[in-house]
């Protein structure tokens, strides 16, 4: 734990602002769209409104605390390459989830795994392709064939 740096304080302030606005939406929607009821018979809006007010106050507290110079946020030294590495894996993962219903589990999984290896290592292409396919088939064999868990088949109708 160490004294927070500028971007961490700004980040927390931003989270506070987002929370503040989301809590307003929560309260507004509940009060407009759901029955509030009475004290004797509280309606569906009562609890969300109470929670929304709590969230609103907590968000205000986050914003207020982010202005304090002695705010404790763990200092993690990251290089640009660390952040890029995590970002690339995240982008590949989002692409994987998007393509899963189209390509099916086996194909999408093989491509995702190969893509991550291609991005983060300097392995030969054939080894990357083999690793991708082996992983996809292993996951399919274990979870779909053995445990019987349902996974998307895709347009090709398998996997």
């Amino acid at each position: 734990m160490t004294e927070s740096r500028g971007y961490e304080r700004k980040g927390r302030a931003l989270v506070g602002v987002v929370g503040f606005m989301a809590s307003l939406v929560l309260i507004w929607t509940a009060s407009q769209d759901y029955p509030i009821g009475t004290w004797e018979r509280p309606g569906a809006a009562t609890f969300p409104i109470i929670v929304g007010i709590g969230w609103l106050l907590a968000s205000a507290l986050v914003i207020w605390e982010s202005r304090r110079a002695d705010l404790n946020v763990e200092k993690v030294e990251l290089t640009r390459s660390d952040v890029v590495k995590a970002g690339l894996i995240l982008v590949a993962f989002i692409g994987y989830v998007a393509l899963l219903p189209v390509l099916g589990f086996i194909l999408a999984t093989a491509i995702f795994f190969a893509l991550v290896l291609r991005t983060l290592t300097s392995l030969a292409l054939w080894r990357i392709a083999a690793a991708g396919l082996t992983t996809a088939l292993a996951f399919y064999g274990l979870f779909v064939a053995l445990f019987g868990l349902p996974m998307p088949a895709g347009v090709l109708g398998f996997g």
Partner: protein, 509 residues
């Protein structure tokens, strides 16, 4: 059923091969995950949660509890060998444990840690078995206002004592969790809330997607960012694992004190294992005959904290099993595994599902023995887990998350929830928010709402009902004391420089 009969019944439940297998697999998987820096008991339990849906409820709770015990042990192993705690409860072990490793006594530190953990867990399990049935009977007298006080007050107290010293860091995630729990069809009147015309939201946000996202995926993203390989761990020959008679003699009192401290902290809301291990260390530094050596590789600095965090992990089962109230995020996941399978945790669990309660008690006894017998000889194997390259480990965990979340409800929408929760979780963790209250808020939100509304209906709108009964009064008084006392104790601790013991420790998020 009395404690002795119950334990015998639990043994017959544990004699089922699938239960033994679940305990064995749980401690092994838990240890492997616990060894990996950045992945702690919560991430381990979150990632395994979807798989438990295919198991019977008894097997599911045994698997999760064993994973919890295993990952606590794995986290402590890296504390000693590499000065890298696998989870926050092991932070304090790095101080003397790693000093012992540098002095060539890593094997002794690991043995004392494992034996102490087992002794503490076994004693605590016996206390849990003895106390739970009577507490459960007492809890049957609780009405809606008392349960409301326990759940809502417990969450407030939790938010006060966690949050890394900042109230907002715990309160904000708590209200995010509570807010997320209001999405979907409301149970009492059937109104659809915050679905915005999206049919996938009608049944609410999937618990698996939320947990695996906020804890599993978020932890993986942070692991990818920060993991750049670690120094080579020291070799631990089998012979070096045998402690001397002096080591054992010096460990006895710290084990005893640690067990008592841990058992007490486990009953309270908050990061019980962490608070227990820090308190135990402080107590050893104050009362031990060898207090001057603590901090420079003394066995007492390992024995006490390790016994206390394991005792806390075990006694934390009491509120879960007797009241259905998890005061830790990992046990909230265990509760979730039961709820998904249609089991209502609470005071009636012991009478309605004795196989789950007593099976779990005996599984914990067995699991801790397994940890000692299997893990010490396998310490070299666990260290190998640290050598798995992150580019292999990360995508494998992500694939595991996808399989688990998708198969939970057969819903592609849940995978998008997983991604959003993962990104939000990683950002919030990076910015110093404590995510445990989010998990508890999400699980306890519907219970709090139901108890609040039932209380008001029964009292015809009299809000005084929440503080009317003696039980409610006591609970709210305890909550008030925690809310007021915590900042004072924190200020005192900061003035005395307690935080300085952490200097130089590579603490994972």
């Amino acid at each position: 059923m009395g404690a002795i009969e119950g334990l015998l019944y639990g043994m017959s439940v544990m004699a089922q091969p699938e239960n033994i297998l679940a305990a064995l697999a749980g401690v092994l998987i838990g240890t492997a995950i616990g060894v990996l820096p950045g992945l702690g008991p919560l991430a381990a339990a979150a990632l395994i949660l979807p798989i438990t849906y295919t198991m019977s409820p008894t097997v599911a709770v045994i698997a999760i509890a064993s994973i919890y015990a295993g990952s606590m042990y794995g986290g402590s192993t890296t504390s000693v060998l590499l000065k890298i705690p696998g989870e926050t409860a092991s932070i304090i072990t790095t101080i003397d444990g790693h000093k012992m490793a540098q002095q060539g006594r890593a094997g002794v530190a690991l043995s004392i840690m494992a034996i102490g953990s087992m002794v503490a867990a076994l004693i605590s399990v016996v206390f849990v078995a003895l106390l739970s049935p009577s507490l459960s009977r007492m809890a049957l007298n609780f009405g809606a206002p008392e349960f409301f006080a326990l759940t809502a007050g417990g969450l407030l107290a939790l938010a006060r004592v966690t949050g890394f010293g900042s109230l907002a860091s715990a309160l904000f995630p708590l209200f995010v969790g509570l807010s997320l729990s209001t999405i979907g069809q409301e149970a009492l009147s059937g109104v659809f809330r915050y679905t915005f015309g999206v049919p996938d939201l009608a049944a609410g946000l999937d618990l698996t997607a939320i947990f695996v996202g906020f804890f599993g995926l978020a932890e993986v993203l942070l692991m990818v960012e920060a993991m750049r390989g670690y120094k080579r761990p020291p070799r631990v020959p089998m012979r070096s694992l045998i402690p001397t008679r002096t080591d054992l003699k010096r460990s006895l009192a710290p084990w005893g004190r640690g067990t008592l401290i841990g058992f007490f902290f486990g009953l309270l809301p908050g990061p019980a294992g962490t608070m227990a291990s820090f308190t135990s260390y402080k107590v050893e530094k104050t009362v031990s005959r060898y207090r001057r050596e603590i901090g420079s590789g003394a066995i007492e600095g390992v024995a006490g904290p390790e016994a206390s965090n394991n005792a806390a992990a075990t006694s934390a089962l009491i509120p879960v099993l007797t009241l259905g109230l998890p005061f830790s995020a990992t046990y909230a996941l265990m509760l979730a595994a039961l709820v998904v399978q249609g089991i209502n945790p609470g005071p009636l669990l012991i009478t309605d599902h004795p196989e789950i309660f007593w099976g779990l008690i005996v599984a914990l006894l067995l699991g801790n023995v397994m940890l000692l017998v299997l893990n010490l000889p396998l310490v070299g194997v666990w260290i190998l887990a640290l050598r798995i390259p992150v580019y292999v480990l990360a995508p494998l965990i992500l694939l595991f998350a996808v399989v688990g979340v998708f198969s939970s409800r057969n819903s592609h929408f849940d995978l998008w929830v997983l991604i959003v929760a993962g990104i939000a979780g990683a950002l919030m963790m990076r910015l110093g928010f404590d995510m445990a209250p989010l998990a508890l808020g999400f699980i306890l939100g519907p219970i709090i709402e139901q108890q609040m509304r039932t209380s008001l209906v029964l009292s015809r709108g009299d809000v005084g009902v929440f503080v009317e009964s003696p039980i409610s009064k006591v609970i709210w008084a305890v909550v008030a004391i925690v809310l007021v006392a915590e900042p004072l104790i924190g200020r005192l601790a900061r003035r005395r420089g307690t935080a300085s013991v952490l200097s130089g420790t590579d603490v994972p998020r």
